[in-house]
């Protein structure tokens, strides 16, 4: 061994140097990736203990201000986490499922399908939509695959593989404790990925209940959807395909969803368009949207989450991780100790629910004041 080391001393040195360099490069990149809510959501996902997520919610920006995982936990006891980013490109869904399976084996995947009705040309033009996913994934072969799928220009891919090419100018943020804490890209997110929207914008519903015909989505997107469905089917994974409430730009959107519903159901999966249940959930188009009918505000999100949480609880076999007082009463001392030990992994969810409840009250009070005063979001200023 000693002889081997002496003989190959220089090569061992080179290999060691490269390993340290790559480790440092990865660490520095994780730290200086642009800080913000999307980064927090992804580092929060990686920060969750292995096999503790029951539902992973994949999709675009309608997901994180609408489906509150902490609230579902508080009401039903299962854990649901959004793996979503703004204008998430449809081909990313499969990559995110694969990414999830590395550390979590959720009982259910929930896919929000609004982005499947988008225009690929618009989405591909803005690299932020791609980077929202790829630059928030940990380094892995799956990440490389995700980049290859999303970036057609081979010559540009290296700036995605090595995203330090883009983010090195963020070096000033290296001194922020919140950034340093991301050195492994794992940092629990206090609200479990949910984003409160505390403004409102009055809208009117576009009634499409009579629209039953279909309109195909873009061929590429249909390909990605079928690919995803096939993968889920091949791996015997449970999934629910859904659409969060929003105001359709035209009846064509309904036709797109009808078309997707047929595809999804042909693979034996369920399709739940929440726009068809707004009456049941008591959703008010005049007060429950944050912006121009695209994203729900906190009040709208609570209504949708209540409905969706109950639906999931009813239709899927999801566990209850809460340490409820009634459950505690029926356990002996040893069982109680074991239950408390098992619950260790879910304490952060208890805290998240508490935090969510508190912020929800604040947001509700603020929103009610604004609604009473008619002070809705200045969309022009937003634009």
């Amino acid at each position: 061994m000693r002889q081997f080391i002496m003989k190959h001393k220089n090569f061992i040195k080179i290999a060691a140097f490269l390993c340290i360099f790559l480790f440092l490069l990865q660490t520095v990149t994780y730290i200086i990736r642009t800080n913000g809510l999307v980064k927090d959501r992804f580092t929060g996902f990686y920060g969750e203990k292995n096999n503790t997520l029951d539902v992973v919610m994949i999709g675009s920006s309608p997901v994180f201000p609408c489906f509150a995982g902490a609230k579902m936990y508080g009401s039903h006891g299962f854990t649901a986490y959004p793996l979503s980013s703004n204008m998430q490109r449809p081909m990313a869904a499969l990559s995110l499922v694969k990414e999830t399976e590395k550390t979590q084996h959720p009982k259910l995947y929930l896919f929000e399908l609004k982005q499947f009705t988008a225009n690929e040309e618009d989405m591909a033009d803005n690299m932020a939509y791609t980077r929202g996913v790829t630059d928030n994934m940990k380094y892995s072969w799956n990440r490389i695959d995700a980049i290859n799928r999303a970036v057609p220009e081979v010559g540009e891919r290296y700036t995605y593989y090595f995203d330090i090419f883009k983010y090195h100018s963020n070096w000033k943020t290296m001194v922020l404790p919140s950034q340093i804490a991301c050195w492994r890209y794992e940092r629990l997110e206090p609200l479990k990925g949910f984003e409160f929207k505390a403004d409102y914008y009055p809208m009117e519903q576009l009634d499409c209940s009579q629209v039953t015909d279909m309109k195909p989505i873009e061929a590429d997107y249909e390909g990605y959807l079928r690919e995803l469905l096939q993968y889920l089917q091949d791996h015997d994974m449970q999934a629910l395909f859904t659409v969060a409430p929003y105001v359709y730009e035209s009846a064509d959107k309904q036709r797109n969803y009808n078309y997707m519903q047929r595809i999804v159901e042909s693979y034996g999966y369920q399709f739940l368009n929440l726009n068809d249940y707004t009456e049941e959930m008591g959703f008010d188009y005049a007060t429950d949207f944050y912006d121009k009918g695209v994203h729900t505000n906190a009040i709208g999100a609570e209504k949708v989450t209540d409905f969706l949480g109950a639906y999931l609880d009813q239709h899927y076999d999801l566990p209850d991780h809460r340490l409820s007082s009634t459950a505690q009463q029926s356990l002996d001392q040893r069982q109680l100790e074991q239950a408390e030990k098992d619950h260790e992994n879910y304490k952060s969810w208890d805290q998240a629910y508490e935090r969510w409840s508190q912020q929800m009250e604040e947001s509700r009070a603020g929103l009610q004041e604004k609604i009473a005063a008619g002070a809705y979001l200045d969309q022009k200023a937003q634009d």
Binding site: F162, H168, W171, K172
Partner: protein, 487 residues
């Protein structure tokens, strides 16, 4: 393929690995293929026609010059080949006929012509293998901006096999990092200030113009010097030592010395193949005799040399791009500095005596260095300005306003660099200066090599991440190409 690009790093990494894996006798062949690939990656495929044509002409020309003994025939063939090569160069580079100039065209034209002259003067033997000659002309590290190598300097290294030498390879890579530091951290930052001042020169005056000009001097030095560090380092890692092109030029105490330290290989080439042959021509060898009756022997000789120097400096300026701003800024102005320095030598001596200045004293050397730096900077105002009138306007505007307040009123940070970026630029320049001073006594790489391994690695990682984090590159920056790449 820009040598600061990710693509180049990949290209070089693969080449370096292959180079030491394959049998040694195949190494030069690999270098030739890699060099052609590097050239082709820089532009249109058909641009290869130019170097192929040049190499064929030079190859057969050199063989003919070696074989033929009649001086007259040799002269005719030499003249034909030189005229043809220079004609092609001028067509592509100076006359802007809508054709694209291939990468580093002037550099390999000079390199190959130097080889031809060596054969003509019987200093060197002609290369009989056209592939080997092609590698000499094409060798990718020298293709972009030089150094302009002489065949006799590199032939033994280029075609000889090289075993993997850990120290040499790591030294080469370290030098490349140093080059990236100069180019990406300093030069690109300086460029932001330079662009602000020079692109809107009508809006600036006084100290702002001085700062812009000084920044350009640093930008050009770190750009060109950085490029040289990268290519010389890359070549060193491949076992081929190239001649140095810079030797701390801003430590020069006069303009002549500056040119012995700045773009050394161009100066050497022009001296060997233009200036000395020029002095040996009939016109210049008889000129002192003609001038002697009127000016005396000593002055006649001096005047002859000044005239030859005028042609030399005009050529240097013209080589940079055929525009008057280059001819003045990089040529005639420097000729004027040198000649006036010599003509006024008695006056300087008298002044030194009056002021009790001792040659070689620390203070006087410091004064000489600052003076040389400022004289060079004046020339570089012409070099960087849009044209000669713009340069004159800028020089005039320095004296239009006395505005030292820009140093403390925050205006300085409105020239393209905020205070953090400005601080990085200044700290980086200080590092550059410190290393340059340390290098005077002993090479910095040798100094680091003496340290224990953990210390060495900390230094290397610090250097690498300094460049990675503080360099201006990537999709958010449009890193400029090397300035000398265009010459």
């Amino acid at each position: 393929m820009n040598i600061t690009s990710f693509q180049f790093l990949c290209f070089f990494t693969v080449l370096l690995a292959l180079y030491y894996i394959i049998p040694k006798k195949m190494q030069w062949g690999l270098l030739l293929i890699a060099s052609i690939g590097f050239f082709q990656a820089a532009g249109e495929w058909w641009l290869i026609i130019y170097p192929v044509t040049t190499i064929m002409i030079i190859y057969f020309g050199a063989l003919y010059l070696h074989r033929v003994k009649e001086q007259k025939k040799k002269q005719i063939v030499l003249s034909l080949v030189v005229v043809l090569c220079v004609f092609l160069l001028c067509i592509l580079k100076y006359f802007h006929l809508g054709l694209l100039a291939p990468l580093g065209i002037s550099f390999y034209t000079l390199t190959l012509l130097g080889y031809l002259f060596d054969v003509y003067y019987e200093i060197g033997e002609p290369e009989t293998n056209i592939g080997r000659l092609a590698l000499f002309g094409y060798y990718f590290p020298t293709m972009i901006s030089g150094p302009i190598v002489q065949y006799k300097e590199v032939k033994d290294q280029l075609y000889a096999g090289h075993a993997f030498d850990y120290t040499r390879v790591t030294f080469g890579l370290q030098r490349m990092i140093w080059g990236f530091f100069k180019k990406l951290v300093i030069s690109e930052r300086m460029g932001l200030v330079v662009n602000t001042v020079f692109n809107q020169y009508q809006d600036h005056s006084g100290l702002t113009v001085v700062i812009g000009a000084v920044c350009f001097t640093f930008q050009l030095y770190t750009d060109f010097g950085g490029c040289m560090d990268i290519v010389i380092g890359a070549s060193e890692a491949l076992g081929i030592i190239l001649p140095e092109n810079f030797d701390t030029p801003f430590f020069a105490t006069n303009i002549s010395e500056y040119w012995r330290r700045w773009h050394i290989t161009l100066g050497t080439w022009l001296k060997n193949y233009l200036f000395y042959p020029l002095l040996r021509t009939k016109f210049f060898s008889t000129l002192p005799k003609k001038l002697k009756p009127k000016f005396g022997k000593k002055t006649a000789k001096k005047l002859t040399t000044y005239l030859a120097m005028l042609i030399l400096w005009f050529t240097i300026g013209f080589w940079h791009g055929g525009l008057w701003k280059y001819i003045i800024g990089s040529g005639l102005l420097h000729w004027f500095y040198i000649v006036s320095g010599e003509v006024l030598e008695p006056l300087w001596k008298r002044l030194k005596t009056w002021f009790h200045v001792t040659d070689g004293s620390r203070g006087f050397v410091c004064f000489q260095r600052v003076r040389t730096f400022l004289l060079v900077t004046i020339g570089l105002i012409f070099f960087r300005a849009d044209n000669v009138p713009a340069a004159c306007h800028m020089l005039g505007s320095i004296f239009k306003e006395w505005n030292p307040e820009i140093l403390w009123n925050g205006y300085l940070f409105e020239l393209g660099l905020d205070w953090i970026e400005f601080t990085i630029a200044v700290v980086s320049l200080c590092i550059l200066l410190l290393v340059s001073v340390l290098q005077q006594k002993k090479g910095i790489r040798e100094r680091i090599a003496e340290k224990p391994l953990p210390v060495r690695w900390i230094i290397f990682f610090a250097a690498i991440f300094y460049v990675i984090l503080l360099g201006n590159y990537g999709p958010d920056f449009s890193a400029a190409e090397f300035i000398y790449q265009g010459f």
